[in-house]
Structures are given as C-alpha cells and as structure tokens.
Amino acid sequence: MGTILTLAAKDLRRRAAAPGPVLLNLAIPLAIAGMLALAFGGGTGGGADPPPLKLVLVMLDEGPLSEFLSGASQNSQTAGRLEVLRAKDRQEGLARLREEEAAAMALFPEGFTRDLIEGRQAVFELVKNPSQSFMPLVAEQGAEVLSLYLTVGRRLLGDDAARLQGMLEGEGWSDTAGLALALASLYGRIQSADGMLFPPLIETGEPAGDPGEARGGFDFMSWMYPGMLMMGLLFLGAGQMRDLLMERQAGTLRRQLCAPVAAWQVVASKVLSAALVVGAAHVLLMGAGSAFFGVRWGSALPLALVSALIVAAVTGFCALLFALVRTERQGDAVSGIVIMVMSLMGGTFIPPQALPEAMRGMAYVTMNHWGHDALRELASGKGWAAVAAHAAALAAMAAAFILAGTLLLRRRHVRGAL
C-alpha cells in the first residue's frame, strides 16, 4: 500500500505543480453553466424569467383605442415584460425589425377603432421577425390574447358602442332617456362580467404537495448543472488516466517498473490519484454550483454516497477507456467521442424523454444518466428512496469498470505493451 501511496502522491504533487490542465477542465463546465445561467437565469427558485418582449407598434388608427393600447403597454403590469418601440409606418417598422430591434411589429390600421365600434370585424396585423425563432412566437401568443380581450370588450359594450363613442368624442347626448337605457344596459353587462372576467375567475396554479415538479418550482440550473458537472468530471478523469500513456511515452513508467514495484501497483496508484483529483474536482464543482448558480444539493448523506460512487464510476470508466487505446492521440479521440455521445444520449443537455422513443433506452446504459439524474433528484429535495436505483447502478458500473480497466492495463503490461 505504501508504494501505491508513494506513486499516487507523486501524481498529486505533479498536478499541484502544474495545475493548468486540471483548472481548465474545471473551467469548461463552469463556463458553459455560466453562460446558461446568464442567458436563462438560474440560481434560487423558479425557472428563468424570459427577457422583455420587444415590439414595434405602428399605430395608424387615431381612435381612442390607440391611446388605450399605447397607455396599456406602459403600465406597471407590463413593465419589464414588454418593451414597445414606436414606428410611424410599416416601412419604418420593418426597418426596425431588420435592425434586430424587435421580435415583431404590431400594426393597427387606420379605422381600426371605427370598425370595432361600428360592429365590423376589426383587423390588426402582427409581422414577425424571421431571424428570431422564440420571441416572435411569444409576441404572437400575446397578440392573440389581446385580440380575444378586445373581442370580449366589444361584447361588453354591446349595441351601445357607437352611441357611447359619440358621447366620448364630445358630440353630446340629446336623448337623455336613451342615454339612461344605454348606461343601464352597459351596467348590467359589466355586472355580469364582473367577478367573472375582471380578473378572470379561472386561473392556473401549482398542484398541492408536489413542489419539485410543480410549475415554478423547477430550477433550471439545478437541472442543468449536474449534467455539466458529470460531463466535466468525465473529461477530467480521461485527462488523468491519459497520464498513464504520457508516462509510458516519457519513459518514467518503465523506470518505475524497473524498481521493486509491481505493474498492478502502478495501475492502482494511477486509478487512485485520478480518483482523488476527480473527487476534489467534484467537491469544487459542487461548491461552485452552490456559490454561483444557487444549486442546493440536498441531503448530505445520500449526496456523499452518490458523489463517492460517481467519482469511482468516472475513474473506473476512464481507466477502462485508456486500457483499450494504444496511444495518447487515440485516447483523446476515443474519449472525446465516447464522452460526448454519452452526454448527449444520457441527458446532459436535454432530458432523455425529449428524445425519440427508440433512443430513450440508451440513456440508461450511460453513466452520465445515473450520475446527473441522482444529483438532480437530490437537488430537487428528494432523499434516499429516489436515488437508491441510481446508487446501485453507479456502484455496479464502478466495480465493473475499475475491475475491467485494471485487469486490462495489467494484461497490457504483461504483454510488454505498457
């Protein structure tokens, strides 16, 4: 054991003397996670707040509705969610879209209010920016809701709309009895709508007793970061095991084997030092996840077990990977391919459920899936029961990989290939 510790300590001392590659391996998942957090928000509670919808408003209508709409776009409820830019005509509006200033242009044509009041179907236009894919659809959804509200509002005014418009425009009201009737009718309609529509009687909300999965309870970074962490650990582990081939090339491996050191001790020490570096990186990345992205990792004991198994499985997998390749270059190529495919299929970026059915099963054979899914479960507040299967799968993978990797590396030594 002393020899193994001596060999492993040497590797750790080397990492400490030249920490660049390890730090860069840590920086990559952090940089990706940082970008995701900046773009989509992250940290404590709730998903990301979408950025404000930028809309170019071309108001060719001069009726009272235009003032109402312009005012509504600036009230406190829409502040932060909607940013309205004015354009005097269609051409200017399109130019602003072209300059990427907005996601869409809403154009209210001349006579829009008049058509609405006079009972004709009033049409307004939404022109979406074709170089954007997400926000124009948000604009369209919003415009549809506006259209519905205007329809409901028109229904509220009923047949008295034209008369009320005349009064509002200062034409006066000669027929006092008619006015009283119209106001009474309007009052009746408002009364029937009040409590129904203002505000709407039906609303959506979180289901009771399911905070983790509930709407608004889903934390984007708590889902995304464990995937990044697993991928980062795999790349880091591959870099550590690659050191075995580097030592072969540098001749230090042969030198060690000329000493009273057995091949299995060299291999075991490399696995141990890789595991220690991966373990330290795991702790650092978890700390960074909490500090920068507000990820809460859940119960300590299940987390410790899952983390230990992840480190063992990652190290064993990388040992096996580098037992199967002959040169560093081969190792780099193969590890890059395998880790990326495992990450894509395992659900690092996208949940496996979003993949075609035929491919979903593949997630379960990847270590990434079991690792980041366990961390995600714990981060969502679940405990032992939720990660028992993950722990079992990771333990089985760790045992199989470490055994196969160590045996294969030793066999290669016996054959003189190491």
Binding site: K10, R14, R255
Partner: protein
C-alpha cells in the same frame, strides 16, 4: 562467438571469488519475427564496469529491459546476485537503472524527482533525505535541486537522470547510453560518477555506441550486433583479437565480384564485407596491406578513397561485422 574464457582474465582478482552481480545466460527475445536478443550471455562482477558496445538497434536496450525485468526472456535466464530477475521485486531492489531517454517528471523539482525514486526503493525519512542530498551532490546538482526538471538544460537533465538511479545506492547500476547528446564536460562528469561507483565496489553495466568512451571506462566489454554477442574481453584482449594487421577500406568503382577477386589474388588479405560502395579488407600484416594497395592502383578499377586503419576496437568491430560501428 570470439572471446576469451572468463578463467583467463587476470585483472579482476577482487571480484573473482564473489558471485557475479549479474549473470545473463543464453537469453533470447524477439519482437514479433525480429530477433532483438539472440542467445546473449555475459556476466558482470562487483566493482567492475562492463560495457555493451554496439550500434543502434544491436539489442542493447532490449538487453537492459530484460535485466530490469521489463521484459521476460523467451528463453535463458537473468540472475541478479544469484536470484532470477523474474522471481519478484526484491531482486530488482538492488538494481539502479539509468534509461536511455531522460525519464523524469518535468513538473517536479530535481529534489522531488530523486526523492520519489528513493521512496520507490523503500527509503523514507532521514535516510531518504541523506541519500537524496548525497545523490544530488554526486552528480553536482545540489545547487539546482530546487529547479523544476523541465527547466534544466539537456546536460543537467542527464545528470539528474543518473542521480535518480543512485539515490538508493544500488549494487548493480545499469546505464543505457547515459551520455547521448550532451556536451563533453557533462559527459566527463557522468563518466567520473560511474567510475566512482565502480570504485565503491558496485557493478556497472554500461551500454554505449561511443568506442572511445567504452575504451576509456570499461574494464571489460562485449561487442554486440543483431542481438548477438560477438566478442567479450578486456579492452586489451579485444585489441589483441583485432589482430596485428590493419584494415583497408576502399571506395570506388569496384563491384563485389572484383573485390572477391582481389581477396583471392592478394595473399594475406581477407574481404570483411562490402556496404554502400565501401569494401573492407583485413590485411594479415603491413606487407599484405602494401600488396593490396598496389593491386588496387594497378588494376582497372577506379579508386576514389582509400583508408588504412591500425588495429582498434573500431577495426575489430569492422572485422567482426563487416561494417563500422557508426552504421
């Protein structure tokens, strides 16, 4: 195999009674179909510097790997102080290996490198500190011990490479071309350290393709080529083996059949070999040499270059292999 029986050697009286530090017997090893070591036998005694001399690819490094236990011989045996090297790590504990390439950790300091290899041989605590200081002092690196190995010059790296093999005071030191690619001063320093090791009673196996170097420090030498030992003996014995007569090398428009003809026509001349347009002849004495030169210049063949070498290890190598050591 040309050479002398070990019982004939009279200059190793101190070591004669002791068991050899290293006994290599009929060792064979092949990489696929290529025979790298083909029935090699020799022994190295305590206090002796034994040289393995041969060109690149002669099998020297493979022989070192077999002695170091990195490779297992297909047949034959390697005994370190009477114990088979394959028997386990304890036999290798008395061995110090200086590999041909500088095998050090560039990220670690010189001192850290030496200490690491010391630990691998079971040293720890104060004895390790002492041994590290001593090894670094022996190679003259005490003042650069805190520098990272990667920052040292080629010559200093070679010295550090040696220190890492000396730290545990091995009884047998294997040096695989330890002076390749370094300046003469650094080379002298390394050779001094090697000689000091032998003087302290340690056995040294030294491989090289530098004839002068081997002649200078080795007590005994084995000339190897194509995985075989061609001759073994002290430098004096090998010089005698090279014969009294010189070796004549001729370059010119001479076809191999013409060279064969010359050998038959001139008495006392033997064609050693022909390679790359150069024909090498061994002359029995000065008269045979003169006759050969006369015959060459009187004949129809055009001679572009002609060299006459006095008997040396180089000419012995030429005699044994038909080509120069630098080939």
């Amino acid at each position: 195999m040309a050479g002398l029986d070990s019982s004939d050697r009279g200059d190793m009286t101190n070591a004669r009674d002791a068991a050899p530090a290293l006994q290599v017997s009929e060792v064979r090893y092949a990489y696929g179909k290529t025979k790298a070591v083909d029935g090699v036998s020799f022994d190295v005694r305590r206090g002796e510097i034994f040289g393995l001399l041969g060109p690149n690819g002669a099998g020297k490094t493979t022989t070192i790997a077999l002695i170091g236990g990195l490779l297992s011989p297909a047949s034959g045996s390697v005994l370190l102080f009477g114990r088979d090297v394959a028997s386990g790590g304890s036999a290798r504990a008395r061995l110090g290996v200086v590999p041909q390439d500088v095998a050090l950790y560039e990220e670690l300091t010189g001192r850290e490198n030496v200490r690491f290899f010391g630990r691998l041989y079971g040293l720890s605590g104060k004895p390790l500190d002492r041994a590290t200081d001593e090894a670094l002092g022996q190679v003259g690196l005490s003042d650069r011990a805190r520098d990272r190995a990667g920052a040292l010059s080629g010559g200093l790296k070679r010295r550090l490479n040696l220190a890492a093999a000396l730290v545990h005071s091995p009884d047998l030191l294997l040096l695989d071309e330890p002076t390749v690619g370094i300046d003469p001063q650094a080379r002298l320093r390394i050779l001094d350290v090697v000689k000091a090791q032998a003087s302290a009673g340690r056995a040294v196996l030294y491989t090289s393709h530098y004839l002068e170097e081997a002649e200078q420090i080795c007590d005994r030498l084995a000339i190897v080529d194509h995985g075989r030992v061609l001759a073994v003996g002290t430098v004096a014995e090998l010089r005698r083996l090279a014969g009294e007569g010189p070796v004549v090398q001729v370059r010119g428009e001479i076809e191999p059949p013409q060279a064969q003809e010359l050998q038959q026509r001139v008495p006392g001349v033997h064609l050693l070999g022909s390679a790359d347009g150069v024909h090498s002849f061994a002359a029995a004495d000065a008269a045979a040499c003169a006759a050969l030169v006369r015959e060459l210049f009187q004949g129809a063949a055009r001679v572009e270059d002609l060299r006459v070498q006095e008997p040396t290890l180089q000419s012995l190598f030429l005699k044994l292999t038909g080509r120069e050591l630098r080939d």
